[in-house]
């Protein structure tokens, strides 16, 4: 299958650079996959599992949270707020974060802002755990 260049960047550095066959991730409008020779495209990313099929057919999954995906003249750039490869996810930490967020929400009495933050934290933890499993 034909491949296309992909670059994955986060504020913690450029995590991946190379040719891939396919990249699948969750955008604000639902899951989507990018293949080679895609037209110019731009979307915002949601929270969810993402996977990249490498040149040799191996598949790597990751937790991808927020950011943008753009395809410009054949080059795909995926700039995420966080991108963690499956093997890099710290399950214990995610578990702890999930518990903390759940407790916060269960306790109640939060302001709108706090509630938003807590539920975002919970969602992030859930995404990480679901990818890890």
């Amino acid at each position: 299958m034909s491949t296309f260049p992909l670059r994955i960047g986060t504020p913690d550095g450029l995590l991946f650079e190379g040719d891939v066959e396919r990249v699948v991730c969750r955008s604000v409008g639902g899951d989507l996959a990018i293949l080679a020779r895609h037209c110019n495209f731009c979307t915002a990313l949601g929270m969810g599992e993402a996977s990249v099929v490498m040149e040799d057919g191996t598949r790597r999954t990751a937790a991808c949270i927020g950011g943008m995906l753009s395809v410009m003249n054949g080059t795909c750039r995926l700039l995420a707020t966080t991108w963690e490869w499956k093997e890099d996810i710290d399950a214990e930490r995610a578990q702890a974060a999930k518990k903390r967020a759940e407790e916060m929400i269960a306790k109640g009495g939060l302001t709108d802002q706090e509630y938003k933050m807590a539920s975002a934290k919970l969602q992030r933890a859930l995404v990480r755990l679901s990818v890890k499993e």
């Binding site: 670059r7 960047g9 986060t10 504020p11 913690d12 550095g13 450029l14 955008s27 604000v28 409008g29 989507l32 037209c39 110019n40 495209f41 731009c42 979307t43 915002a44 927020g66 950011g67 943008m68 753009s70 410009m72 003249n73 750039r77 700039l79 707020t81």
Partner: protein
């Protein structure tokens, strides 16, 4: 003569203690610099990719349904100014302010200062600040950058200002740091800056539509750029301080050498005088 000698001795001592301080500051700056440089280097690819992507989009975008993409009718500009918390870093802070002033000349503008020196500077000049919550650059994290970005977006949508520019210091190397100002919003400004006319008809597909996409990615993009600017500026500040302190230390060394020479000459002269006096006294006996 003896009084003169004492004054010189005192002066040597004071220069020596100053030198100790500058040397210590240099060491502190260089050890902090290593970490800051690493941070700037890991962040840089994201920063440049983000900027490049948005430049590409701006160049080829013809969908102006989003506020962030349209040309703004409000001429007011908001500068996000990133400088250091402390002085004694050579021309680091002053250079950036000079650069800002030449860029903002004749414009109606307000600022969002990051770094104590910026807050002080704009307060003194009576320039309106959006907020001074982020006065301490040392404590600015990714989360703070998101907060800054959200604040900027909110004010931008409200129409408090129609343009946003970022003003920071690029960390080119240990020896050279360059202040820079560039436009980050709206898209039409970015296009003008990259000098691109729409020559290709390379349309971009936005999913689900341009407005939703821009609303979602612009805060993220702003946060990324501000964070990148903070990382670069922190590294630049430390590098500038290290250089300034290195120069100060070597100047102090030079001064001590000169003063020592002067002191020895004075000592020699006083001894010679004493001998002359004794000889003259002995002859008189």
């Amino acid at each position: 003569m003896a009084g003169n000698m004492k004054a010189v001795k005192l002066r040597i001592k004071s220069v020596q203690s100053t030198m100790q301080i500058t040397k210590a500051m240099e060491l502190v700056a260089s050890s902090k610099l290593r970490k800051a440089k690493e941070r700037a280097e890991t962040c840089r690819p994201y920063f440049t990719e983000l900027h490049e992507t948005l430049k590409d989009i701006a160049r080829e975008n013809i969908d102006f349904s989003s506020v962030y993409a349209r040309e703004s009718s409000n001429p007011r500009c908001c500068y996000v100014v990133i400088v250091g918390d402390r002085g004694l870093a050579g021309g680091y802070n002053a250079n950036l302010f000079k650069c800002l002033e030449s860029a903002a000349e004749g414009k109606d503008y307000m600022v969002l200062p990051v770094g104590k020196k910026a807050v002080e500077y704009f307060r003194q000049r009576g320039i309106e600040c959006l907020t001074d919550r982020f006065a301490e650059i040392a404590g600015v994290s990714v989360a703070d950058c998101f907060e800054i970005a959200n604040l900027l977006c909110e004010e931008f949508r409200k129409g408090t200002f129609g343009h946003i520019e970022l003003c920071y210091t690029v960390f080119t190397s240990m020896l050279s740091q360059q202040p820079e100002v560039f436009s980050i919003l709206p898209m039409t400004d970015i296009r003008e800056e990259s000098g691109g006319k729409v020559d290709t008809k390379n349309l971009i597909l936005y999913e689900p539509n341009a407005e939703v996409v821009f609303d979602a990615i612009v805060p993220e993009y702003l946060a990324g750029l501000v964070y990148g600017g903070v990382c670069e500026s922190t590294a630049s500040e430390l590098a500038a301080r290290r250089m300034a302190m290195d120069a100060a230390t070597s100047n102090a060394e030079e001064m001590i050498d000169k003063l020592n020479l002067y002191y020895n000459r004075a000592r020699q002269a006083s001894i010679t005088q004493e001998i002359t006096e004794i000889v003259a006294g002995a002859e008189g006996l």
